[in-house]
Subunit: 275 residues, 2 copies
């Protein structure tokens, strides 16, 4: 693991690191914010998964979550959204390939040789940060847009991995959206039966979520129709999953939306991870 | 004035606008954050001047000040750091020309035809935002690095314009620094006598500041030697100017430093502007 940068922030350390990923078979960059409380011993860890076109950097610099992580005493990990590099397959579209890993393990060429983001987030990077940093076994997960999709689906696919869950404007029903069908077909093949395991609205009915979940969605989100929040609300209600779904008047899909409600999410996770 | 974007943030509106500047003789872009309280009537206004290489955008997206502006009920204006465009003079160096206006009115060719940032900030843009937005006559000013220099010098050069003052890691003594002498000579000519009116440490002794001032400086700032904070501290002490100077252990020159102490600065200004 290489240290790219470390900056003091809110009494803790915002670091950026890289390492050779076995599962993605390329160098991967990620960021970790350690709050001041980590000096005294391992702290709970919140995973923040980013959306389309993002790297580890967008939320790290724009979401303002470090202030809240320091206030509540939890670490935050900001992974990249895909494998990267000249040897890694890509597509001209912004929503496929590099920057658009969709948090799945690709089974189809040319993607399968590097695009193993599900295994990377749920296992390899988790093991690495738990070993290298003062991070405890209590992990929560959140994310924005494609990252909200990642948070919801990974939490449900890996029971016990995450003790707390939330999402900002998640892609909630990708098997029924242009933000989903194209990518799931490319990464997983044409059999739509394989896609359901990566659709939060479907997974909620099939596997469920044992805890409660906080979802914020902007009412003026310019991608509302692609996100399909109603499908998730319907599934939450039908399955009687404990949840707080907040449709926020006037908010769009930007980081201003994420930063506005960021403290609520960090507090949500801290209360559950430190309980 | 054109509206480029408006996003809801912390209950208020983060807007980006452009207009044709008379004094800079080019199109200028700026950002205004209006807190939710502005719906009920004009609110005090904090000017945030950015540093070298920045546009209106850097602090707007990375400093996290909107949360605090909403908490304390003040607006924030984020101007650009220089005129811009194909017709505007520039230099290959990052610290001269576009992105490096140093908040002076240039008198020397080729800069003088557009680089009138002092008049732009202190008069033209002030008049515009006061007319177009729910902004009161109570204005404070702050900034980071070159912008800290701009905040300190404009506040002292225009008594009565600003009722509150602070700075993050300001260029404090530019007449004695490589961050200063090159630019002041280029913009104002070789007569160093003309430079003193743009040096905070000198101005403090010559004109003084009637209020109090808050300065934060990172002890691990990688540009510490170029900023020359000791000259400012010496002037503050010698002139018995009311001040709070905080040398912050472990912090560098980045936006993580600014965001960490941003709430303290917004609170400082709000308390004085709303008194």
């Amino acid at each position: 693991m290489k240290t790219i940068s470390e900056n003091k922030a809110f009494g803790g350390i915002q670091g950026v690191y890289s390492h050779m990923s076995d599962v993605c078979d390329c160098e991967m960059t990620f960021a970790v914010y350690l709050p001041p409380q980590a000096v005294a011993g391992p702290v709970p860890c919140l995973w923040y998964l980013s959306g389309l076109t993002c790297t580890h950097e967008n939320a790290m610099t724009k979401a303002g979550l470090q202030a809240h992580a320091a206030e509540f005493g939890i670490a935050i990990v900001f992974p990249d959204t895909s494998p990267r590099g000249d040897e890694v397959a890509n597509d001209e579209a912004y929503d496929l390939g590099q920057g658009a890993g969709f948090y799945v393990n690709a089974t189809q060429a040319p993607w399968s040789s590097h695009f193993q983001m599900e295994a990377y987030i749920a296992s390899e990077l988790r093991d690495l940060v738990t070993e290298k940093f003062a991070i405890s076994v209590h992990h929560g997960i959140t994310g924005h847009s494609m990252g909200g999709h990642g948070a919801l689906t990974l939490a449900m696919k890996y029971p016990g991995h995450y003790q707390s869950l939330s999402a900002f404007a998640p892609i909630a029903n990708p098997t029924q959206s242009d933000w989903g069908t194209k990518q799931l077909e490319a990464y997983l093949g044409p059999d739509a039966g394989a896609w359901d395991a990566h659709d939060a609205a479907v997974l909620l009915k099939e596997k469920g979520w044992a805890g409660d979940v906080l979802i914020d969605q902007g009412a003026d989100d310019q991608f509302y129709d692609l996100l399909k929040p109603e499908a998730l609300v319907k599934a939450l209600v039908e399955t009687k999953t404990a949840h707080s779904y907040r449709l926020q008047s006037g908010y769009d899909h930007s980081y201003y939306f994420v930063s506005t409600f960021g403290r609520d999410h960090v507090k949500w996770h801290a209360e559950r991870l430190k309980a």
